[in-house]
């Protein structure tokens, strides 16, 4: 049933967030440290195991895939609820600080991508 997939997904998110919170408390910051990331790792490992033993049926998968298929609409809704006014009004300094950072980091993506490739490893086509 589809709810099994959605429940699996929800449980992964909740467990990840709880760990993220605990991790935050542990290192003394008031934020969720990597909760969503932990949840993703959890979902990946869980589904890999369940798929191997053939315990995930198509309807169960549909319960997860629905959420990933409405991902873009959710992002659009997220964009529509941003505080765009504050960003525009906040003055040139804030905008400059944000914009400069973004473009510097864009430029760094190919640089860091090149780090850590070993010679034996085939490069992915670019």
């Amino acid at each position: 049933m589809a709810i099994y997939g959605t429940a699996l997904l929800s449980a992964s998110l909740l467990i990840g967030l709880i760990f993220g919170n605990l991790l935050g408390i542990l290192i003394g910051v008031d934020a969720n440290v990597g909760g969503v990331g932990i949840a993703m790792l959890l979902l990946i490992t869980l589904t890999a195991r369940l798929q191997k033993s053939g315990r995930i049926k198509a309807p169960t998968e549909a319960g997860v895939l629905f959420w990933s298929s409405i991902y873009i609409p959710i992002v659009v809704a997220m964009a529509a609820s941003q505080n765009v006014i504050a960003a525009v009004k906040g003055g040139p300094m804030g905008i400059l600080a944000g914009a400069l950072t973004v473009f510097t980091c864009f430029a760094l993506v190919p640089l860091i991508s090149r780090l850590g490739w070993s010679d034996s490893e085939p490069r992915e086509p670019s």
């Binding site: 809704a77 505080n83 960003a87 300094m93 600080a97 991508s113």
Partner: protein
């Protein structure tokens, strides 16, 4: 006639999440139509949809003076739920379904390096900008630098150090600009920075760090890359909140 409008508004407000599904669905449909028919794929449908979303947020902000974009308009409150943290995180995690763990392993240390470089570069540039605009006290400089990391790291660092509310507001501006710019510019720069495989997406997520910007930007570039970028980006804010009020503040205090 008034009764018709009243009952319409009443239903749309009461069922606000359903209204949001309809409104966002229509927005996405219009965006993909414009992309395919009028722009012949020059600008991807999801980029157009995100740009329309940001425009709606601007209009909502002008109309209500609130801070949550179009969702501050009562009729569209459901958009705030649909695009809020809860459903967004659920959808991000759902993207991990079917992802191969090997892709994460292959990135290895460069993922971690990208996170550290990303946080330090953001602080460095934010700090330089603050300094060149005449700020000289280490608390304000650090807070503005933190804002260049993400709009969460800014206020968290600022309140930890006791910065003024004006400076905290500035740091939020820096973070919001970053998030919005990453969201809208990523599809345009993607091919120039080699953002077309899981590995570079993971590194990109670590460098940029803004979860909303990274997931929005990758969704408009190639939805398959979203889980990889989101994965590293979710560690960024925590790392920034950890390093900002501690090591980075101490460093800046030494220098200034």
């Amino acid at each position: 006639m008034n009764e018709v409008i009243d009952s319409l508004v009443q239903v749309l407000t009461k069922y606000s999440l359903i209204t949001a599904f309809a409104v966002i669905g229509f927005t996405v449909w219009v965006s993909y139509y414009v992309s395919e028919r009028l722009m012949h794929g020059w600008l991807h449908g999801s980029s157009i949809a995100i740009l329309i979303g940001l425009t709606l947020a601007y209009i909502g902000g002008v109309k209500t003076g609130g801070s949550r974009g179009i969702s501050d308009v009562e009729l569209f409150a459901g958009i705030g739920v649909l695009g809020g943290t809860m459903l967004r995180d659920l959808a991000i995690v759902s993207n991990a379904f079917g992802v191969k763990l090997d892709e994460f392993r292959k990135t290895g240390w460069s993922g971690v390096i990208s996170l550290l470089v990303g946080v330090f570069i953001a602080f460095f540039i934010g700090t330089l900008v603050a300094y060149s605009f005449g700020y000289r006290d280490p608390v304000s400089i650090t807070t503005i630098g933190a804002g260049a990391a993400t709009f969460l790291v800014g206020p968290v660092t600022g309140s930890a150090l006791g910065a003024s509310s004006e400076v905290i507001a500035l740091s939020i501006t820096a973070g919001l600009t970053k998030s919005i710019l990453v969201m809208s510019a990523t599809p345009f720069v993607a091919k120039y920075i080699g953002l077309n495989n899981p590995r570079s997406a993971l590194i990109y997520g670590g460098l940029m760090g803004t979860t909303s910007g990274v997931t929005g930007g990758l969704a408009a570039t190639d939805p398959k890359l979203v889980p990889y970028g989101a994965m590293s980006a979710t560690f960024y804010t925590g790392l920034g909140c950890l390093l900002g009020p501690s090591i980075i503040y101490l460093l800046i205090r030494q220098i200034v």
